[in-house]
Point group: C2
Chain length 338, copies 2
DNA sequence: CTGAAAGCGCTTACAG
DNA sequence: CTGAAAGCGCTTACAG
């Protein structure tokens, strides 16, 4: 009953050829006669033989496994909008190359060394980092040690050139802010997340750029930082509603923040968008369903996943010669924007 | 500059001991003198040596990698509520045993054989299946071939006994329905998802059981099936509002469905919970934030992840002797329930 | 086109 | 407590 694990030697014996020949057939080497190939393939099928990946790896160079590092905090907050499509995109590209994704959810306290060992022990060929913070030491460690990695979102500014894919967050925020400006708004608030994340910093910059283009001096009182959650948005908006000259328009760095802000606004019996217009970020599935429907800025996340996977495969062969990839962000109008 | 990869032989030479002794030190064997151990450990540290996992695996039995299979469809729909905490729980347990999670997002068309090869090629020690459908052939394939697996959520009814962790969905739905019954509701609707999922089937059964206990004959017109999304809930509720004797209370099989249903109800200018009370499932992060706050049934998802990981480690050693694990579902009252 | 043999980097009886 | 040697299951020059 119990199937005994069959190996390359068994196949060789059964097919009356050498182990080397079986190996050549497995690896699709051209140096095998059609007749021999067929014979060996038949035995392989018949005995449902699967070459040991580890034994292969011991002889070959690559493991065909890539580690995906995800900070739990963000995994939780933005999961709905972010990780499933990101992973889907990656999977699509990696499947074709028979690469597998090893998932590491970064815990705190965060010990970068722990994750390096996946590479040093030869388990993975490298890393894909998802949304690490600006001051995260991990990318620099990888860089120093010549370990292949791709970052989804930019990381430390200390690195001159490294492979990443990113959304054009500056432009996304710029366009959303410009929309408000063209509608005649002068008091436009920004609900920021933690500026330790580059994507937050970029959205901030896009906002500032647009204001300046229209000759408006950014008012620090209109820029409030909090978590990217509903709670964060609610609290931030509460603050804004209390100042002397409250905003007539609000750009939030996430849709959850925008939803919290809407709660705060409606609580004061103000109208959206008549009294305060609002635009979020992420284009969540529910945006079109809430009342009023929430305008947002969309990222091409599945596309980012694909590009990250492609870039990773590229740098394995070309560690020097690569270009970072920037994908567009698109402003999606809905009624909340006015 | 370029670090040459160091191996166990190098360490042995540097430490003036045999390869076998280095191996013993690495594996914490007691048969090494304290003096030798320290000497070897020092060299290992000094040269930042990491034993090759693949070479170890070739000699040892286990790979210490488990494949987590996630259907993309559900990954997308319930990600926010489900996968991040599930993975977090699993990670917590696996980290301690130095197990890694390999992530496979199941694509369609779905080819079960593709995923079996992860095991047959010796890459993983087994599988954790997340929310597969009732008719999914994969669990039976694994069972037939004696491949270790744990399922999160029950699977095919063809298998007599297999390791799974599940939420007590029957009880959860029973309690929510009972709440309505105790409030005097007679016309209680159920918004179902696809009954190909056991958790949907179970929620359905809990609902039926409660009705029967109160001597109410289930009315097929009050049971509507659609997708577990906002859209699905909206459409299902629209149907219910059109029947002659519409429900005064609604249990939805997901919070997204409940949110869609609320949209449909409010569109008709009906009041929640006065005209129609509503309870969802999942206890999403946003439930308390919407208007009116949405009552729900909560699962202990992070706990499921932990239990799944523990059960997996258990069955590796005890393929026969194990018990499935059922975790509680808790009704969370909020205003929408009335 | 094919095979014998060395090698990948470990672990583990076995002998002492 | 320690070491020499065989073995895990492959790949790949090398020779023919």
């Amino acid at each position: 009953m119990r199937k005994v694990k069959i190996n390359i030697r068994d196949i060789a014996r059964l097919a009356n050829v050498s182990v080397a020949t079986v190996s050549r057939v497995i690896n699709g080497s051209p140096n095998v006669s059609e007749k021999t190939r067929k014979k060996v393939l038949k035995i392989i099928q018949e005995y449902d033989y699967h070459p040991s990946a580890f034994a292969q790896k011991l002889s070959k160079a690559r493991t065909q496994i890539v580690a995906l590092l995800i900070p739990y905090e963000r995994g939780f907050i933005l999961s709905d909008a972010f990780f499933p499509p990101l992973i889907k995109g990656m999977t699509e590209v990696f499947d074709k190359k028979e690469y597998n994704i090893m998932l590491s959810m970064i815990e705190s306290p965060y010990i970068p060394q722990k994750y390096v060992s996946l590479y040093k022990r030869g388990i993975v060929d490298g890393y894909i980092l998802a949304n690490v913070k600006k001051d995260d030491p991990f990318p620099e460690i990888l860089y120093e040690e010549n370990i292949p990695f791709v970052s989804v979102g930019r990381v430390s500014s200390k690195l001159k050139k490294y492979p990443y894919v990113d959304t054009d967050n500056v432009k996304g925020a710029f366009e959303a802010t410009t929309y408000f400006l063209e509608k005649g708004h002068k008091r436009i608030a920004l609900l920021k997340g933690n500026s330790n994340y580059n994507f937050i910093q970029d959205r901030y910059e896009g906002y500032i750029l647009a204001l300046k283009k229209y000759g408006i001096k950014p008012d620090p009182k209109l820029i409030v930082e909090d978590t990217l959650t509903i709670d964060g948005g609610y609290k931030a908006m509460k603050k804004l509603l209390k100042i002397n000259n409250p905003p007539t328009a609000v750009l939030a760095c996430s849709d959850y923040m925008a939803i919290g802000a809407m709660d705060a606004i409606l609580e004061e019996k103000w109208e959206i968008p008549e009294d305060v217009a609002i635009i979020g970020f992420d284009d969540l599935y529910i945006d079109g369903k809430i009342e009023p429907p929430l305008a947002s800025v969309r990222q091409e996340i599945e596309e980012m996943g694909k590009e990250a996977a492609k870039l990773f495969l590229h740098i394995l062969d070309n560690p020097i010669d690569f270009e970072p990839i920037i994908l567009p962000a698109t402003f999606i109008w809905r009624r909340s924007a006015g």
